[in-house]
Structure formats: C-alpha cells, structure tokens
Symmetry: C2
Subunit: 294 residues, 2 copies
C-alpha cells in the first residue's frame, strides 16, 4: 500500500453478508482507512469487530456517519428510508452515500425525501451477488469478484459521486454498469423477483394440497433445484416485493397470460405448440449460459 | 454368481440412459442372462453392444421379444403404444412386461388396447431418476441406487408379475413402492410436470420480452437453478405433457389460482400475506429436504 487510502473513513450501516463482504474486500485492497459499522444488534457489531470486518461501531446512524467520506447502506429495503432519516443530521457535507438494495425506484424516492441536502451525492446501487447464507460470519472478500453491480444514478447525481462508488465496487472485483432505476426494476423483476415469487408460490401451494406428503416424497432432483430460491429469507423477499411491487405486478400479470396460453396447449393436447415452446426455452437458456460464460 | 440368473433372457426396447443403466445394473448383479436390445438406430444398438450394455440386438420389436422372460419398455411415451402393438405378435406367453414412462394412466390405456393377451403380465413402472444427459453412452449402473421406483399395477395385474418387476428394480438398488396409476399421475403432475412447464414457460416468455438480452445478462445464480429443468429434452417433455394432460391441466389451473392470489398480495402491497406465504414455503421446503434425507 502506498500513500493514504482512497477512502480515509467509510461507514457501513448493516454489517451482514453484503456490507461485511464489501468491507473485507476494500480493506484487503487497502482502499479504505477506518471502517465504522452501524446496526441494531450490539452482539453482531462486536462480532464484526472481532472478525476484523469493522474497526469500531456506533448504534446511532447519525453518530456512525460522523466524519465519513463514504456511507454504504447495506440494509433491508423495508428500513432504508427510516435509516436515511436517522443518519441525515450527522452526514458530512461532502459525504458520498450508496446502497445495496435489490430494487431501486423506491430507494431513489426514499433518498429524495429523507436526504434532500445530500441527494446529489447519493448513488443508488445493486450488487447482484449473495449466497443462501446471511450474517457477517458468512461474509468473505471475494463475494463480488466477477459479479455485476448496477448503479442507477439520477439526472441530478454528481458524476464524481458515481465515479467514487463505481471505483469502490471495481476494487472489490465487480463488473459495474449503469442503468435507469425504473429499467433496473423491470429487468430485475423479470430475472429475479418473478422467479422467486413463482418458486415460493409453488412450494406454498403444494404444501397445502391434500396429498402433499406424497408430493414431496416423490420429488426428484429437478424439484430441488427449481425450489432452491424458495429457501431465501422471507422478510427480505417481502421487502423486495413491496419495494418493487409495480414492476413485479406487471411481470406476474404478463407471466400469468403466458402460462394461460401454455395451459391451453396442454389442455388441447397441442403437441406442436408445446414442443415449440420447450425447444425455444431450451435454446434461449443455452444462449444465456453461453453469454454469461463468454 | 451361483446357479442360473433369475431372468435368463431380458429384452430392453429403447437402449438409452434409462434402459441402458438398468441393464448395466442387472448384469453387474448377475440377475440377468442374455440381454437383447431393440431400437430404431442401428448405430446406437451397435454402440450399446460395444459398451457391453446388451449382448445382441434386433430392430423389429416382435423379433426382439422372442424368447424373452422379461421385456422392459424404456421408450418415449409418444411411441409406447405403437411399439406395444409391434411387439405383441412375438411375445412369449409367460413373458412379464414393464415400462419406465413418466406418466402411467396413458400407458395403462395403451397396454390394455395393444396387449390384450398379455395385459395381466404388464406392470406399469416409473423410475424417478435421470440426469440432464441422455443416450446409452450416459448410462451407468448406479443410476437407480437409492432412487424411487413407483409401480402402478391394475386390479388384473398378476402379483407374480409385480413381484418379478419389483425385484428387478430392487436388485438395481431402487426403493420400490406401489400406487394407483391415476394417483401417480396427479402426484407427478404436481412434483415434476408442473415445475417443468413453469420453468419452460418462464424462459420462453423472457426470451420474447423486449429487453431479453438485459434480462439474461443480469440473471444471477438463482435464475440458473430455477431454470435448469428448462434444459430438459423438449420432445420427451411434450410427450409427458400430452400423456398426462388431464392431471397436468388440473395442476396448472390450480397453480394459476394460487399465483393470482399471490399477485393480488404484491399489487396490494400486502406484506403480511407475502411474508406468511414465503415463510410457509421455506419451512415446507426444509421439511421436505429433511424427509428426503431422513
């Protein structure tokens, strides 16, 4: 390491898998000086200090952000706005703020309302990464290596703030791109939020069907893969569905129409149509995998 | 090996992953004497001989079954009845016949129509096993070890024939149970056929949405797992959907109603309902995994 770190003091509000992994990566790269953690659980914060993820902690957001050059909000979407309001009085004037929420329009609304004096320094962000585990003990510095991070700055967002946040994620190994917040929410509704609701909905439905024990007993490996995402954290996903309810409702309605047509094909024994849909899906998935690898 | 094999001559019609793996397991156990293969592709049959999966082959079903003690139909559902008709003239009187189709009511209908003189010796079966690969070169003797096989005998089916087929699968390492054919089709519609149609339908739909390139570009690991079953063989799944169209249509209609209710919860921002559904799904999946392991 030569010279002073790029970010002398960083504050992470929410020290779990997402925030903790980012801090580990930034520390390892020598990109940050002091790391201040903030959260509701003292036990978790103390654990984060012991693990070397943060240097010290505060439980009050306004105190935690004091003197910070960058603040990262790695929080459930449901508490984003209230934490923004709580930290606002303590934010230094030049501080750059970013978040890691899975929906972006609602976060932009929240920041516009709760951080009026810092809105131009707020850079909405979404790292597309995670594991089935959660908590700071699951954090690791390579979580973002090779993963995508989408930033959704607004017209008013300062380009210096965007650069600072983009650099931070690149230092952590991520592939950073920019997108309009509403477009982000539509794309993620299709790619991630819709499949989660479909999988949750299927397992919930089957668990209430009368022959559920036999259904589960005779499930094979395909069912396990298909429903893996139904083991995700229910509160986090409730928050995501609420935050992105418009784009997700549109995606669900659209999918329901597609499923209706497919159900007609099954009902009418339309083998040609079924084969065409299945073949197209298989080819599209293969193209998609090739694109991800290429 | 001591004494004569339990099945002096077995005939397998369809020498791919399913039929080939069963023959490998039965040979390894010394449970069968001569193995006669039958199929449309000479190249595949020759390959199966070279691999030691079968001893010899015939391309005419009626000739292939000549002198067989047991016949295994490891065929796509779409050709099951025509192959039964083709083999009927050559079937020895005491021959036991079974199949490995993923839907059972349609196979029972086919056997009743095509094998009237042998219907009491026909034991419908369904091994719940497979990989994403297919073909005899993908076959291996342990495919059925610890996997479930469901037999769906009718009232007329001879119990000796059922015993013979159950023993054969147990020798291959499977856990054999019996079920009514219609009930089998309902259970498998929910567990397997419905998820496949949902996954195929999702990938097909997304591939036609205008922003599909971005959708696929930003898909994460969860999407990959969720859609893995959409890489299954389209013709095989067309056949399964056609064969089990009644139970599958009912399952699709039922799921559509559940999805409607869940969409309402998203649209109305009903966080309590969403959390309840997601939590129930996660718990049900955990119970199911524990049951599979226990």
């Amino acid at each position: 390491m030569s010279g002073a770190p790029a970010i002398p003091r960083i504050c992470v509000i929410g020290v779990g898998l997402i925030g903790g992994s980012l801090m580990r990566a930034l520390r390892l790269a020598g990109h940050v000086g002091e790391v201040v953690g903030c959260g509701r659980s003292l036990e978790n914060l103390r654990h984060a200090v012991r693990l070397g993820v943060i240097d010290r902690y505060e439980t009050e957001p306004a105190r935690a952000v004091d003197g910070a050059d960058v603040v990262v909000l790695a929080l459930p979407l449901g508490v984003m706005e209230s934490v923004m309001r709580a930290m606002a009085p303590g934010l230094p004037e030049q501080c750059v703020i970013t978040d890691a929420g899975s929906a972006k329009v609602s976060v932009v609304h929240a920041a516009r309302a709760a951080l009026p004096d810092h809105f131009t320094s707020f850079v909405p962000g979404h790292p597309i990464a995670g594991t089935e585990k959660s908590g700071v003990e699951a954090s690791f510095p390579d979580l973002y290596r090779g993963r995508r991070v989408i930033l959704t700055p607004c017209a008013e967002t300062s380009s210096e703030a965007v650069d600072r946040v983009a650099t931070l994620w690149r230092v952590a190994g991520a592939d950073v791109s920019e997108m309009d917040a509403a477009h982000h929410d539509q794309v993620l509704a299709a790619t991630s939020h819709l499949p989660h609701v479909l999988a949750y909905g299927l397992v919930d439905a089957l668990s209430r069907w009368s022959d559920r024990d036999e259904i589960f007993r005779y499930a094979a490996g395909g069912f396990r893969d298909f429903t893996r995402i139904a083991s995700s954290d229910p509160e986090m996903w409730r928050d995501i569905c609420l935050a992105n309810h418009e784009a997700l409702t549109a995606a669900l309605e659209r999918y329901a129409r597609e499923l209706d047509a497919l159900t007609d094909a099954v009902r009418n024994r339309d083998g040609e149509r079924l084969k065409a849909v299945f073949s197209n899906a298989r080819e599209a998935r293969e193209r998609f995998l090739a694109m991800l690898e290429g």
